[in-house]
Amino acid sequence: MSDLRVAVDVGGTFTDVCIFDDSTKEMRVTKVPSTPSNPMEAVLNGVARGNIDLSKVQLFSHGTTVATNALITRRFPKAALVTTKGFRDVIEIRDGTKDDLWDAYSDVSGPYIRRRDRFEVTERVDYAGRLVTALDEAEARELGRLLRKRGVATVAVCFLNSHANMANELRMREILEEELPEATISTSAEILPEIFEHDRFNTAVANAVLGPLVAEYVEHLDRQLTDGGYHNDLLLLHSGGGSMTPAMVKRYPVRLAASGIAAGAIAAKHVAQQCGYDNAVGLDMGGTSTDISLIQDGELRVTKEWEVEYGHPIVFPSIEVLTIGAGGGSLAHIDIAGSLRNGPQSAGATPGPACYNMGGKEPTNTDANLYLNRLGESLADGAMTLDRGLAEEAIQRSTGAPLNLETAEAAQAILKVANANMADAVRLVSIRRGLDPRDFALLAFGGAGALHGAEVAKELGIPSVVVPPSPGVTSALGCLLVDIQHDLSGMYTSVAAEADLDDLERRFQKMESDGAERLRHEGVDDADAQLERGISMRYQGQWRSLQVPMGSGADALQQAVETFHEEHERQFAFRQDSQPVEIYQLHLRALGKTPKPAFVPAPSAGTTLPEPAAYREVYFDGSWTRTPIYRREELQPGMELQGPAIIEQLDATTVVPAETDARIDEWRNIRMTLPQTGDAA
């Protein structure tokens, strides 16, 4: 019987494993240390630690940081760029901007392929796709010979205006395939048929440099799993919130960048769905940073503006996640003008917070939580002991004394600033979309999310907070929940009112047949295939476009235009009905539905609360309060408690502030309801 579903999510410190048993409808989780030098080792260790019989696994899904790490460390195979004469520096000139506008010593990192490995060939296509200069075949062949001589393993072919006519790129590919049969070739218009040379070139370049490495990793893992008895396709989570099989990873390895970030957001969406929230904010707070995701009308926000490092865009739809430098290890400090600040500098894993007793001298959020007794001195079931005296000393010296505050007041001040910073970040992601965070629920997870979640929600005026059953391994859960997904796009510029509807329909149908072909290539049954059209539009003369769903049928475009007006008004507070609306791009999402774990709700176990495991004096709002400490595993569905309370478990600690009700729901989530003050947002 194949009744297991397994998801493995590789993170920077830990590799998390989620195992769902279809026969019992139960989920187990386990954690093993990550092995950055050979990430596959941790995956296989996790399989072993989880006692997983691979022959019983129906579906194995995997979120990996292999691609992201390669882009950060720049450990690439020998790569080359081949481009139109006169344009070999497109990926180095970029758009010229700097991330840090004011620090003249802070530079943007260099391009993925050095100048010496970038080559030009004579060819040119104009803006409309007309051939201006044919590809010089002799030159192209000579270039192939040169690249072979240089031992190039992977090539990005990036020609100007190829989004309008990719014939020259394809011919160049053919010639290179003949001259360099061993090499991987990525052409820019096949990877991303979109206008704007830097975005398209760089996406193709990222694809090229990742190609051999990522493909090899995936192939190797696939083989190991197959050898272990797994008999289905390995599913790899990609940045768009879907997954792909090894067959497609070979063609689009760049899509695996951001694989890990997407997993947490997908899990947040799942938890929101379980709890019946259409709108929710995911707050995934770890040691050094917090990832904030947004679920609106049941869907995650998707963006095409994404990069691993500033200046090197990877233009595929990616789950929109805002990462800010606020985590358990963020350092509090008094700045040069005597003001209290929190982050973005972090104590990191070493020396870590002062209470780790590893040499850290400056107070962190973890130290403040510990000193206020929100966090216990014994973590991970006794695997780690924190030193409250060191936390006190650091807080008093660095914050309390200079601000003339009692240690407890100082610790509270540190946390308030941290919570306000996170609340500001949530405001940025929500308000800029025209959304009011007060209409949302907050999902708190990650190692530190549940410590801060309720107070961040309070700062935002959010009434409901959800803490999932295993907050520390929520990302792995995300990997269990994804479909196979491909995102296709194409340029289409026309004023909507003047568009040739038949031509538009043909373009969509062509994209649909391409999408369906990709799904078939991945072994998806036609019955499980689902194709969704989208269209990007803008008011004529505007620079940014907005993507809205597109139906089919005669009035589909007209409806999309109306949706565009509405969406523009909702997001930006104005619409311009008199202004012509212009079509800019067409999109197609091809989904191959995969079976999802069928979670079943747990029956209510009655409402009698267990005895608290202990009591601690915890500091809330200016005073120490005797507070019950519960063990999470002793709290059963249906139980309710009132704050103040602390709930501890292996991978997280949840703070339930005073005047807050907490209930364990049928999915074992902690559901907190905050008192309503009515003024925040």
Binding site: D89, I93, G96, K98, E197, K416, N421, Y539, W543, A573
Partner: protein
């Protein structure tokens, strides 16, 4: 050392409330920027030539956007105050005002500000402002950059403070008057609306804060946020030396006075009491549009200084800690009505900023940096015969270039101008779609970085051919064709700016680094470089390996490696990057340069000009070895400019050679 005077204002807010509100102000302003970026019509705004600010009830800036363009820094409060002066008591809830007046602290006419009062009940507690660069604001030339303008009348529409919304009602007639004076009224109307709406985002956020924390607390935080910034700057000065430093930089020429560089003098004083600048002694206003009004000169001073205090937020507290005497009206740095000032950005602005970099490089050597390339705009406007109607087109193009070498590393290559490091270069594919131009190249130019121990960053070369244009003219707004981007601490200059028409053909013309309304036709090819950055430190001290790596990447040619760095490299097999250093020849070359370079810098300029004309030496030699300034097209010697340039090179470069 005396103790810095700290602002006397009492601190009434607790540290948490203060920090939370300070950050919330930043969020409210950034949200405004975020919205304008997503809804704007002007591609110049879209490329990030805009800024946002929250001002207090007196018009002082409380917070400026974290992604704002440098050039607007320190001008938004002037514009807000102008609205207050003009309308006084007659400011109502639901009003929105527009202003672009450069004589009321504005930048140039293209930069139009929209200002919305924030009311709590009957009381104004602040203003939300968004300022963005419209693609056209009328005047003599498309894009409104008329190099030959001497008065603002030919530059475009001057908007003194004017109301465009009244009690929440859109004043259609006023808006029409504004946008009808531009070449793209529909676009301008779109931006007018988008910018006004963006200010409403900030208003909403500030009112939310008032609801949560009370009006009094928010108003107190607005003041304390300014005090905080002033305190940050003054406290940062405590560890720095006190004294006076001065320098002079130049604009290329003033047509009213013929050949000769136009001086801008900057003196910096640190006395423990703040940061003081003195620009008196700068030249009279020039008879082109390369003048600066008081607003933009202050902006250059603040932005230049801020580069050395990157972490301090920008608001009026910063402007309180930094004072400047910019002298009487009528000079190139304090032009006044009705002098043309649209080109301030390429003229005095970049000179003041780079001069300030040079001065602070001595105060904070660990952040030292040589001169960066000059902001440049190429404008081609006419009729696009690809369309049946021969639609009007305005091709408005700017480039990235090199920044100066630094104390510990090379300059940054192909980077946006110091005038606005967030100003994005436009994609060629977008430009070709909108304009009848086929770009022939857009690439880093070899040997453009000023030689030094740490090389200046590389500049870029961009060329194109007009394909289907009729009744078309070209203008260029730049500078440093003669006052060439300089090195410091012994570093050498980069290359001159300037546009070439039909280079390498019989019709070749060198058009220079500023010109206006040159007729161009289909088939004409134009090309121009952006300068690299100036070098930092003696190029003979650059390591041989660094020069070799530069040669392999073709940032530096084999020829210039020898002539600029004295590193002799033999090419073995370039196909596999096989180059060899000839160490013996390198030693000899370096000794030769060391022994002769002081003399080269004194060689008869006429003889140097002659050797350039005959093709014996290149522009690199003329500048880097001889410090001679020529008309780069004809090779004609510019005697006075050469004297001035040599004097500056003597001070910045030769004086530091061993």
């Amino acid at each position: 050392m005396t103790t810095a005077t700290l602002p006397a204002t009492e601190r009434t807010l607790d540290p948490v409330t203060f920090e939370v509100l300070k950050n919330a102000f930043a969020t409210s302003v950034d949200l405004m920027s975020e919205q304008i970026l997503r809804t704007c019509y002007s591609f110049v705004i879209y490329s990030r030539d805009f800024s946002s600010a929250l001002c207090d009830a007196q018009g002082n800036t409380v917070m400026q956007g974290s992604g704002d363009i440098a050039v607007h820094v320190g001008t938004l409060h002037f514009q807000c105050k102008a609205v207050l002066e003009e309308f006084g008591e007659d400011i109502n809830p639901g009003d929105v005002f527009a202003i672009n007046d450069p004589y009321r602290g504005g930048t140039h006419l293209n930069d139009v500000s929209f200002i919305r009062p924030i009311f709590v009940g009957e009381e104004i507690i602040g203003f939300a402002q968004n300022k963005g660069h419209w693609a056209d604001i009328g005047g003599n030339v498309p894009g409104s950059f008329d190099v030959n303008a001497t008065e603002h009348f030919s530059e475009g529409l001057r908007i003194t403070p004017v109301r465009v919304w009244h009690h929440g009602k859109f004043l259609h007639d006023v808006a029409q008057l504004l946008v009808s004076n531009t070449r793209a009224p529909a676009q301008a109307l779109g931006d007018l609306q988008a910018q006004s709406e963006a200010t409403a985002v900030c208003e909403r956020e500030v009112l939310r804060l008032v609801g949560k924390y009370s009006k009094d607390t928010v108003v107190a935080a607005m003041q304390e946020t300014q005090d905080y910034v002033e305190r940050s700057v003054l406290n940062s000065l405590k560890g720095l030396p006190q004294g006076q430093w001065e320098t002079v930089d130049y604009i290329d020429f003033d047509p009213a006075h013929g050949e000769g560089l136009v001086p801008i003098r900057i003196k910096l004083t640190l006395d423990g009491d703040g940061i003081h600048y003195d620009l008196t002694g700068s030249a009279p206003a020039v008879e082109t549009f390369l003048n600066s009004g008081y607003g933009t000169t202050h902006s250059a001073i603040y932005a230049g200084t801020k580069t050395f205090f990157p972490d301090v937020p920008l608001n009026s507290g910063f402007y309180a800690a930094v004072t400047a005497d910019i002298g009487q009206e009528g000079t190139v740095v304090n032009a006044g009505w009705p002098h043309a000032v649209t080109g301030f950005c390429s003229g005095p602005y970049e000179k003041v900023m780079n001069g300030i970099f040079e001065l602070w490089s001595q105060v904070m050597p660990e952040r030292a940096m040589a001169c960066a390339f000059n902001l440049e705009y190429l404008l081609i406007g006419g009729h696009d015969s690809r369309t049946a109607a021969g639609q009007y087109f305005m091709w408005y193009d700017w480039m990235a270039g090199g920044w100066g070498g630094r104390q510990t590393k090379d300059g940054s290559s192909a980077t946006s101008p110091v005038f606005g490091t967030g100003l994005a270069v436009q994609p060629v594919e977008g430009q070709e779609r909108l304009n009848p131009v086929l770009t022939s190249r857009h690439e880093i130019s070899t040997d453009s970085g000023g030689p030094g121990r740490f090389r200046g960053g590389c500049g870029v070369e961009k060329g194109g051919i007009l394909t289907d244009a009729t009744k078309t003219v070209m203008s260029y707004c730049c500078d440093r064709g003669r006052s060439v981007t300089w090195g410091i601490e012994g570093g050498l200059p980069s290359v001159p700016h300037g546009v070439w028409l039909n280079k390498g053909t019989e019709d070749e013309r060198y058009l220079g680094a500023t010109f206006s309304n040159v007729t161009v036709r289909s088939g004409d090819a134009f090309t121009r470089p952006s300068a690299g950055g100036g070098g930092f430190g003696d190029p003979l001290e650059r390591t041989i390996d660094e020069v070799l790596e530069d040669v392999i990447d073709q940032y530096v040619s084999v020829e210039r490696a020898e002539r600029d760095y004295g590193v002799v490299i033999t090419v073995i097999d370039p196909e596999v990057d096989d180059y060899q250093v000839d160490y013996e020849a390198t030693h000899a070359a370096r000794e030769h340069i060391r022994a002769n370079r002081a003399g080269w810098l004194k060689e008869d300029p006429a003889a140097v000009a002659h050797r350039y004309q005959s093709g014996e030496i290149t522009v690199h030699d003329v500048l880097r070895r001889h410090g001679v300034i020529l008309d780069w097209g004809t090779g004609e010697l510019l005697q006075q400019s050469t004297e001035q340039y040599r004097e500056s090179m003597q001070r910045r470069s030769a004086a530091h050679w061993e």
